[in-house]
């Protein structure tokens, strides 16, 4: 079974999320062009942007709800649903393609039973595409929970997955 993050309702904002959102606003609202820093601060702490976040930010920054929603939906990084315990980003760009990333992509999707943007049914791994990690001399590359990995062979990839599945 697959959880499709786009179909998953994030529900009402709970108390602790509200605190995180308010704190992110308070810490960054003085910055010129504060919206991206605020969104990052929330997602850094919660892993995604809860559905109530846009309204609260809009009110505080004196923007329309549509303005904030438009920014959130424009950028690939921002998620509207919680990711799995681990996030694996696979580079799809040219340098990695030249070193077999498409075979890795197929292997990864088959092994995990998910497509890009989805999370495994046990909630362990969310798979996302990325367009260049700046590790193009050591292609193919992936990023796991913010850690860059290079020269990723099928065996190395299997090892990463196995260790992620075990890790809480």
């Amino acid at each position: 079974m697959v959880k499709d993050s786009s179909a998953q309702a994030s529900g009402p904002v709970d108390r602790s999320s509200t605190d995180v959102i308010d704190q992110a606003i308070a810490e960054n609202r003085h910055l010129p062009g504060a919206l991206l820093p605020i969104l990052h601060a929330i997602q850094d702490r919660l892993g995604f942007l809860p559905s109530g976040a846009a309204g609260r930010i809009a009110e505080d920054l004196n923007l329309s709800h549509a303005d904030v929603h438009g920014v959130i939906s424009f950028y690939h990084d921002f998620r509207s649903a919680p990711p799995g315990r681990h996030v694996m980003k696979l580079c799809r760009a040219e340098a990695c393609q030249s070193m077999g990333s498409q075979a890795l992509e197929a292997r990864l999707k088959a092994r995990l039973g998910i497509d890009f943007g989805q999370t495994t049914s046990d909630g362990a791994i969310t798979l996302e595409p990325v367009y260049c990690l700046g590790n193009c001399a050591l292609s193919p590359a992936v990023m796991i929970d913010g850690q860059l990995k290079g020269r990723v062979t099928p065996e190395r990839l299997d090892g990463f997955i196995a260790s992620l599945e075990e890790k809480p």
Partner: protein
């Protein structure tokens, strides 16, 4: 006696185990009661040798690599702390041909110094450029940069000094310096290497830019895919502020300049300068029509110098050693050096800083050693996802902005992505359109709609459906995108598509002569 060992902290080196190797060396040294000082430097840029371990000896640094954690014990047994012989020994680092033949101006310190130790930076020429600039009038700084011939290293190659002249001449205040660190092109990593391996040089370059144009505030717009660079920059900025190299009183001069890092959010288009400015303002990264030029109406509507990381990092040496020195490298109107990045299916991938004029063939074979797979190199994409695919017949063109443009290429940010003979060029053309469809900001129709139509048409061609008509349609679509798009994203996506079609027609089901079978 304490031995000094160097292990890189560059994200690419870490991606293949440099951290584990450094920890292994520390543990082994402790167990053997050897005194070892482990310096976490930037990378020398010889990535096929990472994790590279270097040891300081009286005759210079000796290199070992690629070192796996399980090699560490044997290295100690071989007396590597004194430069002892071992099967992984590469001899003196700076005698390795790949490194020795380079002309490292911008990357002079990368891999050599501890990127976060200010004293190390200054001992290797750091802040000499800023000191010189502080004694000059803004106009003189700008003219020095004009004379150096430095052109924008982000891809567009616009003369840096001319841009600064415009910002200096603008009257509105405040003015800004914005560093474009949204290095999104596949096959490029030189910005990342500077930010992780010598961050002070970027801060120094930005401060000089601020003095030149009359700005006291700088922003680094950093792509979110570079978390290691973000951490390093944060530490470097804090250190520089504390030491009076940033802040209200630059080097005791009473002049002010400070820098703030802003993280992007995974949009390739934000490497385009006007989309970047929109993003910095907290908006969708939508391209602005030009004019007005960002130099006159940039960030928050104010005059803004937007420059790439490598451009800014090349400024300190120009102010330190003079425009003439910098301009003595290169050829024609391409003066100075460019850090080329050898990437993809290449045996010796890495960073090669050379004066303009080196040929692709030299880079691919003399430095790169041919393909990683050992198969013949069939195509090379220079200049990122918007750069043309070039066949063997173009490999002898010198890498000079004008000469390369004359054969339909674009040097761009200096990325060179290599493909062997297993590549399907029709698939690569399709990917170019797909990438544009994914990353288009959506503001102009040719890019937003054209890229999706491009994918469909190439799918038809690959499936053999009405190939002649669809090839004509594809060329027509490319013409519309080239001439009708607002920025280089839609305007240059046809470059990889049409070059694939021109040089590799057989992959599109046509005979090599270009006729559809």
């Amino acid at each position: 006696m304490t031995a000094t060992v160097y292990v890189s902290r560059d994200a690419a080196a870490l991606s293949v185990g440099a951290e584990e190797v450094a920890q292994g060396i520390a543990r082994a040294a402790a167990a053997r009661a050897d005194q070892v000082d482990i310096v976490r430097s930037g990378s020398r840029g010889m990535f096929w040798l990472e994790p590279l371990v270097e040891v300081a000896t009286p005759t210079g640094r000796i290199a070992y690599g690629p070192v796996a954690p399980e090699d560490v014990a044997a290295l100690f047994d071989a007396g590597f702390l004194k430069g002892g012989a071992h099967r992984l020994s590469l001899g003196p680092t700076e005698e390795i041909a790949y490194f020795k033949k380079q002309e490292r101006l911008t990357f002079a310190r990368v891999g050599v110094t501890d990127p976060l130790r200010l004293s190390d930076y200054e001992a290797h020429g750091g802040f000499r450029g800023l000191r010189a600039a502080l004694a000059m009038a803004p106009r003189d700084i700008v003219e020095e940069v004009v004379r150096s011939g430095l052109r924008g290293r982000g891809g567009a190659a616009f003369p840096c000094g001319i841009k600064w002249r415009t910002v200096l001449g603008a009257e509105a205040l405040p003015k800004y310096v914005v560093c474009n660190a949204d290095e999104g092109d596949s096959g490029t990593f030189s910005d990342r290497m500077i930010m992780e391996g010598d961050p002070f040089v970027l801060l120094e370059g930005m401060a000089i830019a601020g003095l030149a144009v009359g700005a006291t505030k700088g922003y680094i717009y950093l792509r979110s895919e570079y978390p290691d660079a973000e951490r390093t920059l944060a530490l470097a900025i804090a250190t520089a502020r504390q030491a009076g190299r940033l802040g209200d009183d630059l080097l005791g001069s009473g002049r002010a300049f400070d820098v703030e890092v802003r993280r992007g959010a995974g949009a390739y288009i934000c490497g385009e300068e006007t989309a970047l400015l929109e993003s910095l303002e907290g908006k969708r990264g939508m391209v602005r029509p030009k004019p007005p030029l960002p130099a006159l109406e940039g960030l928050f509507g104010r005059p803004t110098a937007v420059n790439n990381v490598i451009t800014l990092a090349s400024v300190p040496i120009i102010l330190d050693k003079g425009a003439k020195y910098y301009a003595s490298y290169g050829m024609g109107r391409s003066q100075g050096t460019l850090p080329f990045q050898l990437a993809g299916n290449i045996k010796h991938g890495g960073l090669v800083e050379k004066a303009f004029g080196v040929t692709l063939r030299e880079l691919l074979y003399d430095y790169g050693g041919g393909s990683a797979s050992g198969r013949p190199i069939r195509a090379v994409q220079v200049g990122g996802p918007l750069g043309a695919f070039l066949p063997q017949s173009r490999f002898d063109t010198p890498l000079d902005y004008e000469a390369f443009a004359a054969v339909g290429g674009m040097i761009g940010h200096g990325g060179v992505v290599v493909f062997d003979d297993t590549v399907d060029m029709a698939k690569m053309a399709r990917y170019a359109m797909e990438f544009c469809a994914i990353e288009s900001c959506g503001k102009c129709t040719p890019c937003r709609i054209g890229s999706t139509r491009g994918v469909e048409v190439i799918d038809h061609i690959r499936a053999g459906r009405k190939p002649a008509q669809n090839l004509a349609l594809l060329r027509d679509l490319c013409e519309t995108m080239t001439h009708g798009s607002l920025c280089a994203m839609g305007g240059l996506t046809p470059a990889p598509v049409l070059s694939a079609l021109e040089h590799f027609p057989e992959d599109f089901g046509a005979s090599p002569a270009g006729k559809v079978s």
